[in-house]
């Protein structure tokens, strides 16, 4: 049976990464009332916060909600305690990635492909990025009709523009991935 007041470090880890006062949530559910994804997810935002407060790391990291959150910020704009729930969801995604617990694999695959494209070209070339994503997610045929429509309307250029300062962008990526730098950035609020 999982301990009711689970491991303290998880809630502290979430507070540090998200810079949000997670302890202040008193379950008013204003976030849930406005959440656009509510009916499509397994937990409501306030439930995720409650699970975080109670140290239920496994349940939280294995949820779909943290991945489905679009970051629309309706919750954060309404929270009477100023908790930016979308920032908490982002922090939970980062922790999930670090622990390799990825419930919604397509979303993570998409993010990886997107960022790889930015790292190598500096900008997104929609056609090539979507092609790589479709191959990696093994979802080859959906949206072919949409892609064709966009192409015929001149909105899906075959070649993308490359940024000249690609070296600088690669350096930005490398520096941002550095563990020490990420820790320093998080600790700015401690």
């Amino acid at each position: 049976m999982e301990k009711l007041f689970g491991s303290q470090p998880f809630v502290e880890e979430v507070k540090l990464k998200s810079h949000q006062p997670v302890d202040l949530c008193y379950q008013c559910q204003k976030c849930a009332s406005g959440c656009s994804l509510l009916r499509y997810a397994d937990y409501t935002p306030n439930q995720i916060l409650r699970l975080v407060q109670l140290g239920q790391k496994k349940k939280v990291l294995q949820s779909s909600m943290i991945w489905l959150c679009t970051g629309c910020e309706i919750c954060g704009a309404r929270c009477p305690n100023g908790i930016k729930m979308a920032e908490v969801m982002d922090a939970l995604k980062e922790i999930a990635i670090a622990e390799n617990v990825i419930k919604e694999k397509n979303i993570q695959t998409f993010n990886e492909v997107f960022l790889d494209t930015v790292k190598s070209k500096g900008r997104i070339h929609e056609l090539s990025m979507m092609s790589v994503y479709k191959l990696k997610s093994k979802d080859l045929f959906s949206d072919i009709d949409l892609g064709l429509k966009l192409f015929l309307k001149g909105k899906m250029p075959l070649l993308g523009k490359k940024v000249k300062a690609r070296k600088q962008i690669k350096e930005i990526f490398n520096r941002s991935l550095d563990k020490k730098r990420r820790e320093n950035f998080d600790r700015c609020h401690v």
Partner: protein, 283 residues
């Protein structure tokens, strides 16, 4: 008036009509939008969903470029605006995080450049009388639901623009075109954003709800200021409705009688011509 311009990746491809109409309307109003030299991707949702340091560092590079030019920065895409504005907010308010970002992006933050969405630019930097003077073919009879989406007005302490629950800036601009902005309650409900690419059926349900509610409010068209919202509203919908989805700059351009507006209209996935013809707003 000269302003720096950060088009973002979608305006070079799937939202070309937003780019073209924004530049054309800007020209007509005497705004010279100067594209940022060698700008790079803001990181969009994928960066902030993966690494929040990277998510602040990528836009910081573009802020550094804008600083070199010294002009305020107009950003058409709501997602790009969200990321750039948030990075600027961190750089402006958090000394410790600013130092880290300055090191990563190799620059010194001056805080002299204001980051604005395109909607904010046309709402706050242009006198409404100037817009009215440019209106040659008022869009009378057109009832439009202004759809702001999420990132133009949220988080409110970052954007500091318009009302996050019931924004009015786009409604006011649309009214100036002669069209009637309808009152409806779904102005800032999320369209599903980039779940469109990974969980498209969820987005179909979200978009269908938005379209149904716009129709219930009496709208004949939707108006947006975000490339991804516009794409989702056009292409992730049930088959029930033919409601077209405009960019607000397209309606401004149409009402200004700009000849190139026919080129933008022809780029839509959901053809707006039948509606425009029925209201005698185009030939």
């Amino acid at each position: 008036m000269d302003l720096s311009y950060y088009p973002g990746c979608s305006l070079e491809s799937s939202a070309k009509e937003f780019d073209h109409s924004a530049l054309a309307v800007g020209r007509t109003l005497g705004i010279n939008f100067i594209e940022l030299k060698d700008w790079s991707c803001c990181g969009a949702t994928s960066a902030h969903g993966t690494n929040h340091l990277l998510a602040a560092a990528l836009p910081s590079r573009n802020i550094a470029i804008a600083q070199e030019i010294g002009l305020d920065l107009a950003v058409p895409c709501a997602a790009c605006y969200g990321r750039l504005k948030r990075a600027d907010h961190i750089l402006r308010n958090d000394q410790c995080q600013r130092k880290e970002l300055e090191e990563i992006a190799d620059f010194k933050y001056s805080g002299k450049v204001n980051v604005m969405s395109l909607l904010e630019t046309f709402s706050t930097r242009v006198d409404p009388k100037e817009i009215t003077q440019c209106i040659k073919k008022p869009l009378e009879g057109l009832k439009a639901a202004c759809y702001y989406g999420c990132l133009l007005v949220r988080p409110p302490e970052v954007t500091c623009f318009d009302n996050p629950e019931n924004p009015q800036s786009m409604d006011k601009l649309i009214k100036l075109t002669g069209a009637e902005p309808v009152r409806w309650s779904y102005k800032t409900d999320c369209c599903g954003a980039n779940l469109s690419l990974t969980s498209s059926q969820t987005v179909v349900k979200m978009v269908t709800r938005l379209l149904d509610m716009a129709e219930e409010a009496g709208a004949q068209a939707l108006v947006t200021a975000c490339p991804l919202c516009q794409m989702n509203l056009e292409s992730r919908r049930g088959s029930r409705t033919n409601m077209p989805v405009f960019f607000f700059t397209e309606l401004l351009g149409l009402a200004m009688g700009l000849n190139e507006s026919s080129k933008w209209i022809s780029k839509h996935i959901v053809d707006p011509l039948p509606l425009l013809r029925s209201l005698s707003l185009v030939d």
